[in-house]
Amino acid sequence: MELRKDYFADVRKDGLHEIGQPRPRLDSPGHVTGKTAYFADRNFPGMLHLKMVRSPHHHARIRSIDTSEAEKHPGVVKILTAKDVPHNVYTILILIQIGPEDETVLADGKVRWKGEAVVAVLAETERAAQEAAAKVKVDYEVLPAVFDMEEALKPGAPLVNEYHGQNYYLYDSGECRKVRFGDVEAGFAGADHILEQSYQSSPIEHAPTETTGCVVVPESNDRFTCYTNTQAMFFTLDNASIILQMPGSKLHFVGGTVGGGFGGKVDVIVEPIAILAAKLTGRPVCFIYSREEEMQISSPRAAEKVVIKDGVMKDGRIVARKVTGYTDAGAYSRHSPYGAQKGAAHYPGPYTIPNVWIDTYCVYTNRTPSSAMRGFGVTIGDFALEVQMDKLARLIGMDPLEFRFINAYRDGDMKAHRQPTEGAALIECMQEASRAANWPVAEKYMAMSSYRKEA
């Protein structure tokens, strides 16, 4: 790595004692000796293992659940169904008044994706829990499912989630989050070229080497200690408190040493049910996702579809950009309405465009609910935007890097969501990339600065 201190030296104070110093990481000695304690490195006498019975169907009504055989299985201590969860509603963003109460902790009457949690089995050993889980009988009436976002948005599509009443999240702005800036149709009308293209991704897993999980210990003072690898301690505590209808003061969360997160451990899925199990059994409980669960059950990065329509001039100026984004939330919201909204704020990318129209939709389908991941709401949009930039440059016969200089945002430029640009540095990054990659651009671009608009 090379630190190029010559850029922005005038606005930066260097020569600090500790900041900017490559100090060794204080956690590394624990890592290399195997002494770092992750949540699962704690073992407690009498600890029970929780295994989840999951839906084998993408969409089905639950006619009945029969746990009688499973309960008799040797080693089984407790079996939990929806009726055992005090407030059986998943409440992830309710504390900040975002996100609907559209998901249960354990399925109640219906399942909406293949893998949805239905029954929790607690047993003395993992093996006993697995064996008993195989004996839980759930009678399903299979319902039509929808997997394609376009199909889901059509009239008459199977309704994924009754809470919403339609297969998209309803924002205060309507069926999508909107950004309107300038007059996009006028921009198109005056453009030399129009290019409309569609981009698509599929779900992506965080795939941390340590799977999601927690270990819960009932303490002598009527409190519960939850050792967890959540990315958000109080998020988890407060949500667990609501679901369990238990004062937050009864809950003690210990974490902060996590085997990789990447956004995959913010969903508060494992902790509430494990605490409930510890409460009802009076025993320590561990609930750790198997690798298969981590890969297919834990929320992935949403699949997205992005449609970009641009109006561009022969001289390289983009004069209008219309973006329609679709985020595939899966069967439940989790963080996806936020991600789609964050996408609306991110478009049209780091470029100054006078006429912008953004619609971002959060769409429900019968698949594993998606949620946050590294680059949430932005990563796939950046893929679409930057491939589109390449296509636009080639369309008008311009060098793709020079084309970006022409449109790059700079300090003071008004963004589409009506914030003035501050602290821009796109131009300098591109200048340095031009040098490092031996990708020459015209001298006038190398003379530009994010600070101001010179000739």
Binding site: P203, R291, A345, C429
Partner: protein, 334 residues
Amino acid sequence: MAIRRGRGVAAINYPTGMNLGGDPTQALVHSTPTGNFMVTLSSVDLGQGMKQIMAQICAETIGVPTDRVVIDTADTDTGPHCMGTFASRGTHRAGNAVIQAAKEARQVMLEVAAEELEVNASDLETDGQGNIQVKGAPQKSISIFDVALSAHFKRGRSISGRGMFLIPRSYPEKETGAMKPSTCYAHACTVAEVEVDDETGEVTVLAVKNVFEIGRALNPKMVEQQLVGGSWMGISHALYETTEPYYPNRDHGGTDFNQYLMPGPGDLAKTEIIVLERPSADGPFGAKGPGEMCANPQIPAVANAVFDAVGVRVDTLPITPERILRALKAQAAG
């Protein structure tokens, strides 16, 4: 058979924080009787090194070496609230909270030192080595060890501080979408070079040259860790990863690390990292969040390089050999 080369570029920016939800983090700092400093938080270290960075931020602010700082985090019985580690907010939000708390503690520390040295607190400075000295007269000094002892046992002062950093929630305007979604923006530009086998669609990423602007490299080696690992993940996203390889068909989802594809140690691109620092107005020592954006520019850069190599566009992620081969065959068929 032909192996064809191409290169592509992409430039991006990335927002720090999640203003659309309201975004607070707190920190507490206190001194032990012998002048070590405890930082109490509830922020989570996912492996990115948040604990180490908070230690360096606290040390710089108070004016002690980093090894005099202990981070106690992610225990809800002791640590004050933090929203969590996501949205590139950890360093930015918790860092600001730690600075505020450390400044308050430093002020008490200087006041006690001033009493011991019989000077004005405003005339004192730290030497970064564990001592407090009079500005312009460094021979007149006292160790922080002695200051802490005095505070505890002689002067009855608590060398401590409280930090709270809140970005109030921004509500998007319904019709126009006017909003303040984040605080500062990091930037990047990546140039990728690839080879594409035009008979199999296989892509080899030969090299990526990444330029990142991250505000301030608080610990350059740790920044390098993030950026190198992020660049790998970006390439991985571009060419390999998905839980649903036949999306929107739900079948054949991978359930292990054999089936969930990521580049192995034999697939690594030659990775060059260049870092620029334009300090942000509101970041701790100007820092922005580099952890997320560093995995983004490689994806379109690789996509554009594939087009440059073989003249077909694959606008669906991941850009698998199958998708390239299908596009090549469609192209050949006219």
